[in-house]
Subunit: 280 residues, 2 copies
Amino acid sequence: MDKLQMELWFTEKQTPDHGITSKVVRTLHHEETEYQTVDVIETRQFGNMLLLDGMVMTTDKDEFVYHEMIAHVAMNTHPEPKDVLVIGGGDGGAIREVLKYPTVETATLVEIDERVIEVAKTYFPSIAGALDDPRVRIRIEDGIRYVEKAENAYDVILVDSTEPIGPAVGLFKREFYERIFHALRRDGIMVAQTESPWFNRDLIARVYRDIADLFPIARLYTASVPTYPSGLWSFTLGSKVYDPLEVDEIKLHRPETKYYTPEIHKALFALPKYVAELTK
Amino acid sequence: MDKLQMELWFTEKQTPDHGITSKVVRTLHHEETEYQTVDVIETRQFGNMLLLDGMVMTTDKDEFVYHEMIAHVAMNTHPEPKDVLVIGGGDGGAIREVLKYPTVETATLVEIDERVIEVAKTYFPSIAGALDDPRVRIRIEDGIRYVEKAENAYDVILVDSTEPIGPAVGLFKREFYERIFHALRRDGIMVAQTESPWFNRDLIARVYRDIADLFPIARLYTASVPTYPSGLWSFTLGSKVYDPLEVDEIKLHRPETKYYTPEIHKALFALPKYVAELTK
């Protein structure tokens, strides 16, 4: 008879009634920072997994979906993004994608919790390695306060927040999007991650309405992220001038990616009916 | 202090190392049929859930995605589908979608396990109710043997199988698709469910190649199903004449749906790079 071995499984209750469970090879890191609990576990299915307050933020295997999709739609819609701001996103994944555009001169990361950056550099070098690029500026600060001070300063702003509880609540409010509007240049574009079309329908509808009120152009799109609640994630884009549906596909940049391509740029906005309804 | 209550959670290991877990209100049904284990549980998040051999087949809340998406792309590409065959799919969901087309004269369901149909009628009336439609013919038989006997008989054939283990293994083989080709009329279309682009990459690539060898037109598309492994599901279409990318959107039927619309018909084929690679 084989020897029995302990099996360690990580379970995230993504709602009070449903979640994912994943086999753990080993736990790599655990700490309580000033803002949250930060854990890193090695899973068999998805490789290293970063957890904030017990919620999956990113994994080695499926991180490319979220990071490419929060960045490339806006970056490839703006004809010449030079100064880009990422709010949250301490793992560096959104910054890595932003840096793939040769027009970029500065990529600023505003992360409230320095420890997330440090932990990501240790356990997710292929994600956080981009933070060493000379174009990157890191500010350890509350994103809301940082944006208040900026005016007419950025071409693209990405809101790469955690869930709308705890320190990230303010990142889903109308006043925050107003500040982002002012922090953007006259032809700027913003994208915010806006949770699951299955589990966060009210939130998506509200954020979409706020952004559509503030920006001449508002667009919702989705991407399939296996380790995120429901496996489907939404992003809301607000743009002052450029419409992602009006780009000339032939002229788009072709960054090195695993998910995003110029060929799917416009098709991303063809939403299933139950998702499209959130924009009415 | 509150009284403690037992919490019942159902967990499906969708791979040996990863799965979903869902809170159970009550178990409604359990039986061992000639072919498999059939369970129905009531979950808090997704309502009633049908399990075959412990794997989620369908749930009240997200069944519309899979059933609409296996049916409407082919049904709305064929200009006049009259005779439709569904292999597997004993819950009746694919048949329900097929019946939304006024041209349909017969919708034949070939299901190997009669008990699945009976259990679905009891616990999923909004899905299986369609099986009482006078256009529906039910055959309790092995799909492979049924298709062998048919020639030039169907406009659309949908392969709504379980996972490629046990009784369904033969439904993923090249010889089976050859038989389907012969069972289709000279302008027929087939669609097979082909599992997850995350967990079943080899299978998808193989089935796509087989179908592309046999049919002049082969197309892969996906849909997001929260309770299926990885949350992303693939469908492979083979067509003798009509290309889903060449339809005139204006002329498409507009069935009553929650996911599929004529507006997304062509966009469904704009695949993320890591999925598109499976067709090369």
